[in-house]
C-alpha cells in the first residue's frame, strides 16, 4: 500500500510476520506481539485508518498530518506522541534540508511517520532485528533506536559547520577579507540557529523519557535514553561553542577590516607625501621671478633633480621604518 514503508509484527524481539494495515486489529489479538509500522508521507486516509486501528488521539493525528511542528513529546492517555526534526546536509546547495518524523508509541505498537528530508528508517529496523535481546524490551526500545538514529544524523552536520568556521577563520586571519566572508559568517549563524532549534527541545524530551515512571519505557531501557540525552547535550554544546566563536569572529573581522583600512590609509598618506614633495619643489623652480640665481647655474637642474630624489628616498625609508609601507 502506497505510503507504508514497512509494517511487521514482533514477538520476543523477533520479526514474525509482515502485516497489512487492515489486518492490524487481527494481529494484535495475540497479546505477546507488538507491531512496528513505518509510514512515509502518508495520505490522509491512510493516517485515519492507522488512527482507528491503534486508537490514536485526534490532535496527534492532525499534527502528524501538518508539517512544521517543533520537536515535542506528548502523552495522550496511554500512548506517547513524539515529534522530531530530521536533518541532512545538502552539500551541493550548501544548506541543511530539514524533515520531520512523528512517532506514536503504545504498549504494543510503534508508528513512525516520515516527512521531508530524512534517511529511511529501514536501517534502524534491520539493526534492531539483529539484536532481538534488546528489541524484546518492546516498543520503547524501538523508539530509542529511532531517536538515536535521528540524533546521530546531526553529528556530521555539526562537523561540516565546524569545518566551515575553520575555513572562515583562515579567510579572516590569513587572507584578504571580502564581502563574501561576512556573508558566509551570517549564513553560518543562520544554519547554527536552525540546528539549535531542531535539537535543543530534545534535551527536555529525553529528560522526561528518562525520569517519568512510564510503563511504555521499562526501567532497563532508560539508560539508552540517557545515551541519546548525552548526544543531544553534546550537539547543543558544540552549536553553542560555534555560535560564540562566530560572534567573536564577526567582531575580529570588523577589527581586521579597520586594521586593513589603517594600512591602506598609511600607504595612501605615504605615497601622497613622496609625490607631493618633488611637485612642490618643481613648482618653486617653475616660478617666473626675474631674479632667481639657481636658475642660471649650470648644475641647478641636476642638483634639484638630485634633491628631489634624496627627499623622496628619505621619506620612503622613513615610512618603511615606521611600518607604514
Amino acid at each position: 500500500m502506497s505510503g507504508v514503508a514497512n509494517c511487521a509484527a514482533y514477538t520476543g524481539g523477533r520479526r514474525v510476520a509482515d502485516v497489512e494495515v487492515k489486518d492490524i486489529g487481527e494481529v494484535l489479538k495475540q497479546t505477546d506481539r507488538f507491531i512496528w509500522i513505518g509510514l512515509h508521507e502518508p495520505k490522509e486516509d491512510l493516517l485515519r485508518q492507522v488512527q482507528q486501528e491503534f486508537g490514536l488521539h485526534d490532535l496527534a493525528i492532525e499534527d502528524a498530518h501538518r508539517a512544521h511542528q517543533r520537536p515535542k513529546i506528548e502523552w495522550y492517555g496511554e500512548s506517547l506522541f513524539v515529534v522530531l526534526r530530521t536533518a541532512q546536509m545538502n552539500r551541493e546547495q550548501g544548506r541543511i534540508d530539514f524533515g520531520e518524523t512523528h512517532i506514536f508509541v503504545g504498549a504494543r505498537y510503534v508508528v513512525s511517520v516520515r516527512h521531508g528530508s530524512s534517511l529511511s528508517y529501514a536501517e534502524v529496523r534491520s539493526r534492531c532485528e539483529t539484536t532481538p535481546q534488546l528489541l524484546c524490551k518492546g516498543p520503547g526500545f524501538a523508539l530509542y533506536a529511532l531517536m538515536d538514529f535521528i540524533v546521530d544524523q546531526y553529528f556530521p552536520i555539526v562537523d561540516v559547520l565546524e569545518d566551515e568556521l575553520e575555513a572562515l577563520e583562515a579567510e579572516i586571519f590569513d587572507e584578504a577579507f571580502s564581502r563574501e566572508t561576512t556573508h558566509r559568517i551570517y549564513q553560518l549563524k543562520r544554519q547554527l540557529l536552525e540546528v539549535k532549534r531542531a535539537v535543543s527541545p530534545l534535551v527536555d524530551m529525553c529528560n522526561r523519557l528518562m525520569r517519568f515512571d512510564l510503563e511504555l519505557i521499562p526501567e532497563d531501557t532508560r539508560p539508552y535514553f540517557r545515551d541519546v540525552y548525552d548526544h543531544v547535550i553534546r550537539i547543543n554544546e558544540m552549536v553553542d561553542t560555534l555560535r560564540e566563536l562566530l560572534t567573536t569572529a564577526l567582531e575580529a573581522n570588523l577589527s581586521l577590516i579597520a586594521v586593513a583600512q589603517n594600512e591602506v590609509m598609511k600607504k595612501l598618506a605615504g605615497w601622497a607625501g613622496i609625490i607631493a614633495v618633488p611637485t612642490m619643489i618643481a613648482g618653486v623652480y617653475g616660478m617666473n621671478f626675474d631674479f632667481m640665481p639657481e636658475l642660471k647655474w649650470d648644475l641647478g637642474y641636476p642638483l634639484v633633480l638630485g634633491g628631489m630624489l634624496v627627499a623622496c628616498g628619505s621619506l620612503y625609508v622613513y615610512f618603511k621604518r615606521s611600518g607604514w609601507f
Copy 2:
C-alpha cells in the same frame, strides 16, 4: 444592544437560544445551559450590567474597561479572567496594530470583550458550533477556541517579519547599503519586541491552564491548551531566532560598510596616484632652469608624454592586479 456582538445560550454543545443581556439571569436558571457573550468595545454601563449578571470581580472589570494591560490570567474565586493581546498586520503603513481581548470564564459563562485591532470572533463561534461534540465540554473549550484563534493570528505576522528580514539580507549583502537599511533593521527590531511582549506571557499562562486542577478546564480539554502552548512556543522561538539574526545582520551591516569604505579609499588612493605622477613630471619640465637639455630635444615632449602614459598605465595595471580597482 450596542456593544454586544453576540449573546447565545448553549446546551450540549448546541446553540439553543439568542439571549438579551437583561435575560441572562433567567436563562441561567436552567442548569444545563451555558452562555457565551461577545462584547465589542462596550460602554461602561453595559460592562457593569454584565458584571452584575455573572458576579464578576471589580478589579477584573476595571481592567476590562481600561486598555493597555499585559497578557495575564487571574483567578477571582471561581471565575477566570484572561487578558490577551491581539495583533494584525497593517500592510499599508507597514506596522502592526495591536488590540486587546479580555475573557471572563465561569462554570456556565464565557464573556469576551474585544478592544482595538482584532478580527471578529464570529468565525470562532461558528466553527465551534459545527463541532458540538467538542463545544459540549463547556466554557473551557470556548476559551481554548478563542485563545487558539488569537494566537494563530501571530503566525502570518511573524511570516511578514521573516520576509522583511530576508529583504534586508538581500539589501545588506547584495546591493549597496544605505541609511534606509539601518533604519529598517531598527524598525524590525522594534516590531519583534512588540510581538515578543504580546506573546511571551502566554507561555506561562498556557502552562497554568494545563497544569492546575481546575474545574473550569476539564481533564479532556487540557490537550487542547497544550496545542495552544506549542504554538506560542513556536512563535516565541521564531521571534527569538529573528532577533538573533537581526543582531548579527546589524553587525554584518557595519562590517560591510567598513569594507565599502575600504574599497572607496583604495580607489581614491589609486586614482590620486595615477593623476599625481604625471602632474609631478609636468611640474619638473615646467621648471625654468636655463640648462635643461631635455627641453631642447625635438622628441622631448612626445617622450615625456609617452613616459607619463606608461607610468599611469603601469600604476593602473598594478592597482587592478592588487584588487584595488
Copy 3:
C-alpha cells in the same frame, strides 16, 4: 508636631479621630481601631517615640533613618517593614529625582516615613477615606493604597523616557548625528538603569505579599497586590524594551556614522578627482619644451580649456550617476 504629616485613627474604614503621637497608646486600647500615621523626614527622636508606641524593631528603625536602602520587604515578628523608592521627573534639569518611603505595617497600625523627592500621601489617604468599604479591610489595604500610588508614579516617568527615545530615533535616522546624540543615548541608558533598580525588586516583593499566608494581608486584599504586581511587571517590561531598543539604537548610530563617513569620503574623492584632472592638464602645457606644437596653435588655449571642462563635466556626471555626489 514637626515631621508628622498626618495621624488618625480609623474604625470600620472611617476616620474617627486625629491623634497625637503621644496619645497613640491610649487610642489603641480600643481594639476595633487602627492608626495610620504619615511622617515626613522625621527627626530621630520622633522616630524613636513612634518606635516605642508600636514596638518596632531596631534594625527597621535604623533603616528608616538612613537613606539609600534598596526596595525590600521584611518581617519582624508580627510586623512588616517595607522600603520603596519613589521617583519624580525633574523636567527642568532633565533628570529623575528619587526619594524613599518606608512603611511599617502591624495588625493595627500603618506608619509611612517619606524621604526625599516624592508626592505627599495626603491624596492616597483621602482617596481611601472615600471608600470605607475597602479601607475597613485594615492596614493591609492602606499598604496596598500606598504601594499602588508609588508604583503608578513610574508610568509618567517611563512615558517621558519613551518620548526621549523617539526623539533620539528621529535624530539618529532623519537628521545629522552629533556628539550630543551619543551623549543623550548614554544618559537615557543611565536613567533606565536607575528606574530598573528602583522597580525590579518590587516584582519579588509583591509576589511575597500575594502568596504568604499573612494575617496582615487578608485573603480578599490579595487581588489588589496582584494588581500592583501587574503594574510593576509592565513597568519592568517597558524598561527592558527601552533598554534593548537603546542598545540597537547605539549600534545603528555607529553604522550611520560610518555611512556618513563613506559619503564624505566619496565626495572628497570625487571633487579631488574633478580638480586634479585640469591641474594635471595645465601642468602638461606649462612644460617648457621648445618643441610643443599645440602651444603655437591659435585655438590651443580654448581647446585645452574646453577639454578641461569636458573632462570635469564627465567626471561630475559619472560620480552623480554612481551615487557618490
Copy 4:
C-alpha cells in the same frame, strides 16, 4: 604570641578574661563562656594548635593556611567555616588590594584568621563589647559583626569606582578622547569584575545563614544576617549597574571616535578643496600657449588673484554653513 592579634573569653556578652592559646581548653570548661580569637597571618604550628584546641576539620585548616580561596561557607559537623575576601582601595597605585579572612564558628568559639590586605578587626571587637546585650547572643553575633564590617568595606570602594566612571564619562563626552581613556575603561572593567567575584558569592552565603535551622545562629540573630544580605545585594547591584554603564560607555566612546574621524575628514576635505582651486587656476595661467589673451591684460593678474580669493572665500563660507568647519 606572634600571630595572635587578640584572644578573650566572654560571658553574657562581657569580656571576662584575656586567654593564652594554650589555656583555651581550661577556659572552655566553664560552660557559660565563649572564646573569640583573632589571628593575623599565623604560622602553621599556631594554626595546628588552635585546630587541636577547638577540634577543627583538616580540610578547613588547609584552606585557612592556603590563600586564594573564593568566598564560601561550609559546615563541618557542628562547626561552621566561612571564607571572605576583604578589600581596600590602594589610592596611590589606583588599584584594589584584596585579602582573605577565614572564620571558624563553633557553639562556644569564634576564630578569625586574617590574610593580606584588610583592616584590623580590633574595631569590630570593641564595638561588640559596647553592646553586651547583643554580643550575649553568642558566637553567631560575632560572626555577623565580622561579616558586616568586611562587607561595609566595599561601599567606599564602589564609590571610588563610580567616581572613576563619572570622570571617564566627562572625558568621553566633553573632552578629546585618547588612548588613555580606553585603557582606563578596561582597567575599571577589570576592577569591577574583581569586586564582583569577591562579593557575589556572599548573596548565597547570607541566604544560607538566614534560612538554615542552625543552632549556631539563633533565631533572633537572623535579622542581622538579613541586613548583611541587603548590603551585599546593594553592592552587587551597584557593580552590575556600573558594568552595564561601562559597556555602554565603551560603545559610546567608539561612536564618538568615529564622529571625530568624520569631523577631521570633513576639515581635511574642505581645506584640500580650498587650496586645490587656486592651485588649478594658477596652473591654467602657467600654461605656455602663445595665444592666451588674458595674459596680456594689465588687470589680468589682479583679476585672477581676486577670482582665487572669491573662490576660496565662497568655499569657506559654504563649508562653514554645512557644518564641515
Copy 5:
C-alpha cells in the same frame, strides 16, 4: 599485560597485593579487599575482560572505548561511571591537549581508563598509599583522589591563559596593534571555550556526588568532593572573568584601532596642508601674466621663499598645538 598500568588490591587502606586481571574474581572473594586498576588506552578485549570481572554495563564500556564523551556521571545499578576530560598545556605549539579518563567505581573496585593527553595516575595512587587512614574509606576516596588530581591540572592552564591575556593587554594598550593581536584574542577565546566545556559539567557532577545518598560515597568522604567542587567553581569563575575581559579587550582593541586611524588621518591632513600651501604659492608665481610686478622685484624670490617657510612653519606649530602631530 599491555594496557594495564597498575592493578592492586587494598585492605584497610594498604596495598596488599599486585593482581593480574584474570585473578580479580579470586581476589574479590576476600570481602575486606577492594581493587584499584589503572588502564591506559586499553584494547577492546582487555576492556571486555575487565567488564566481565566487575559486571560493568554495556553502554558504559562502549563509552569507555569511544573517545569524545563530554564529562558526565552515571549510575548503572550499584556502580558509578564517571567521564572526565584531562588537559595539558602544549607549550611548544601554544595549544591545550585534551584527553579523557573514564572511571568505574563499585563497592569494591575502582577502574580508571586513560585516553589521550594526561599525566599518569601513578602519582595519585602513591600519594593515596601514603595516607592509608584516608584510603581505607574505600573506592569513593580513590575516586576523589583521581578527580582532585585531574581538576588541579586546570589551574596551571588557566594561569597560562591569564598570562596570555596580560601579554595581549600590553600589546593592545601600550604598543602598536597588529593583525596578529586580533588573531591571538580569537585563539584565546577558543581555548577558554574549550576549557569551559571540559570543566563546567563538573559543577553539577560534584554536586550530585556530594548530595545523593550513595553507599559508594560514605558520609565522611563528602567534604572532599566539596573541595573538588570549590576548585571547579574557581576555575569556572576564572574562565568566565577571562572571557568577559577578553570581550572588553576586543572592543577596546577596535576603539584603539579607530583612535590610531584618527591619528594617521590627522597627520595625513596636516602634512598635506603644509605641502599644499607652498605648492599653491609657487603656482601663482608660475603664472605667465605680462604684468606681475612682484616678478620684477629683486627681493621677490627670497620674500616668496620666506613667506612659504613662514606659512609652513605656522601650520606646523598650529597642528602641533592642536595635538594633530
